[in-house]
C-alpha cells in the first residue's frame, strides 16, 4: 500500500486509539450474529438467480417461445447474435460486481446503462434495413404485448437480484438498482426479439425500449429502498 503524500506544513494531530473494550465488545457482538460464509452465499445466490431465470423462461415459453413469423433466418440470427453480445456486456458491467467488494464504478454503470438501449435498438434497425419490408408497420401491433412480455420476463430476475444484494451497497444503491433493471431488461429484450417480428420504429420504442427504461426506474426505486446499506441505531448495540 503506498502511503499518502505528506503535508510538511501541517502539524500532527494524532487521535487516541480505540479502547480495548471496543475489541471485546465487537468480537462478542459478531459472535452473537451468525453470518453466512462465501460458499453458502454463492449457493443461495445461484439457486435464487437460477430459479428466477427459470421462471422468466417459463413466461417466455408460455407466451409462445421463439416465433420466426416469416422472418428470414439471417435477420433473426443477426439480430439475436449482436443483441446477445450487447446483453453479455450489460450483464458483465451491470450485474456483476467486478474486482471490488464495492461493485462497479459509477461512471461505468452510467455509461453502460445509458448506452444499452440505444445500442440494442440501433442494431435492430440497422440490421433490419438490409431486409425488405422488415421496418414496415404492422397494423394492430403497437407494442403493448411486447411491453408486457418484456416486463413479465424481467420481473422475477429483478426481484431476485434485489434479494441477493439487499442491504449491501454503501455507495450508490439506487444506481446499482437502476443498472440491474437495465441489464435485466436488456436480457429480457433478447427473448422478446426472438418472439416479436416487428421492427417498426415506434413499435420498438414502445414495446422494446420503454420496458427497459421502466425496469431501470423500478430497479432504482427498489435499490434505494432495499439494496442500500441499512443503519442500526447505536443504542441497539450492546456496550457491555
Amino acid at each position: 500500500m503506498s502511503n499518502p503524500s505528506s503535508v510538511p506544513d501541517l502539524p500532527s494531530l494524532e487521535p487516541a486509539a480505540p479502547s480495548a473494550a471496543l475489541k471485546d465488545r465487537t468480537l462478542a457482538a459478531a459472535g452473537r450474529h451468525a453470518a453466512p460464509v462465501r460458499k453458502q452465499r454463492a449457493r443461495h445466490t445461484l439457486m435464487l438467480v437460477g430459479l428466477s431465470w427459470l421462471l422468466a423462461i417459463g413466461v417466455f415459453v408460455w407466451a409462445g417461445g421463439p416465433r420466426p413469423s416469416g422472418r428470414p433466418l439471417a435477420l433473426q440470427l443477426g439480430t439475436a447474435g449482436v443483441t446477445a453480445s450487447i446483453v453479455a456486456v450489460c450483464i458483465w458491467a451491470l450485474l456483476l460486481r467486478g474486482t471490488s467488494s464495492l461493485g462497479r464504478r459509477a461512471s461505468l454503470l452510467w455509461s453502460v446503462a445509458l448506452g444499452a438501449v440505444p445500442a440494442i435498438l440501433s442494431w435492430k434497425v440497422i440490421w433490419s434495413i438490409q431486409f425488405e419490408g422488415a421496418l414496415d408497420e404492422w397494423p394492430g401491433r403497437p407494442g403493448f404485448r411486447c411491453l408486457a412480455l418484456t416486463l413479465g420476463i424481467a420481473a422475477c430476475p429483478l426481484v431476485a437480484f434485489v434479494i441477493a444484494r439487499r442491504g449491501s451497497d454503501p455507495k450508490h444503491p439506487a444506481l446499482t438498482g437502476f443498472a440491474a433493471g437495465i441489464g435485466i431488461g436488456a436480457t429480457a429484450t433478447l427473448f422478446t426479439d426472438l418472439w416479436c417480428p416487428v421492427a417498426f420504429i415506434p413499435h420498438l420504442l414502445l414495446g422494446h425500449a420503454l420496458p427497459i427504461a421502466t425496469l431501470g426506474g423500478f430497479g432504482a426505486l427498489l435499490g434505494s429502498l432495499f439494496i442500500r446499506l441499512r443503519n442500526k441505531e447505536p443504542d441497539s448495540i450492546p456496550r457491555t
Partner: protein, 184 residues
C-alpha cells in the same frame, strides 16, 4: 478477510486489529466524540462481519470498510438533524482531551483544530472526502479512489488542491509553529 469470508472466525480478530484503529482515527475527527466514534466503528465491523460472504477475493478491504463507515455516519447525521438535541459542549471538550497530549497546550491545539476543521468544511465535498480518506483514514490514493468510485488521478488532484487551500489559509493565519512531525 479472505480467510474470514471462507468461514475462519478467528480471522475476525486480525481484521479488527488491521482496520479498526484506522477507522476510529478517521471517524473520531469527524464526530469528535469517543463514544459515538466507537459505536460507528463497531457498527462498521459488524456490517463487515454480516457481509463477509460478499467479499470479493483479492480485493482491498479498506475502501469497502470506509465506504460503510461513511454511509453509517451520514445516515446518523441525517437522523440527528431530525432530532432535537441538547448542546454538544461536553462532547467537544471530551474530543479535545482525546486528541490532545497532556504535555502540550490544549488551547493551542484546540484553536488549530478549529481552524483546520473550518478550512476543511470550506472545501468542496469531493475534495473534503478525498482529503479525509487519504489523511485521516490513512488510505492510499488507490484505496481512496475505490472508496469514492473515481480515478487515482482525480484523488491526487483533489488532495493536492485541498493541501493548497489548507496551506494558504494556515500560512495567512500564521497560526502554525515549525513542523515537528511531517504527517497529518
Amino acid at each position: 478477510m479472505d480467510r474470514y469470508a471462507q468461514g475462519e472466525d478467528a480471522a475476525f480478530s486480525e481484521l479488527y486489529d488491521a482496520i479498526a484503529p484506522r477507522l476510529y482515527a478517521f471517524i473520531l475527527r469527524k464526530v469528535r466524540n469517543t463514544e459515538r466514534a466507537e459505536d460507528l466503528v463497531q457498527q462498521t465491523l459488524l456490517k463487515l462481519h454480516c457481509a463477509r460472504s460478499r467479499y470479493v477475493p483479492g480485493s482491498c478491504v479498506s475502501p469497502w470498510a470506509f465506504a460503510i463507515l461513511r454511509r453509517l455516519h451520514v445516515d446518523q447525521e441525517r437522523r440527528k438533524k431530525l432530532e432535537v438535541l441538547s448542546p454538544d459542549g461536553d462532547n467537544e471538550a471530551e474530543a479535545t482531551s482525546a486528541l490532545g497530549d497532556p504535555e502540550e497546550s490544549v488551547a493551542h491545539r484546540q484553536q488549530l483544530q478549529i481552524l483546520i476543521d473550518s478550512v476543511l468544511s470550506q472545501l468542496s465535498p469531493p475534495q473534503q472526502a478525498a482529503f479525509e480518506l487519504v489523511h485521516h483514514g490513512q488510505m492510499s490514493h488507490a484505496e481512496a479512489a475505490e472508496a469514492l468510485g473515481t480515478t487515482v488521478a482525480s484523488i491526487k488532484l483533489r488532495v493536492q488542491r485541498a493541501h493548497r487551500t489548507l496551506r494558504a489559509v494556515l500560512d495567512s493565519a500564521n497560526a502554525m509553529p515549525a513542523p515537528s512531525n511531517p504527517n497529518v
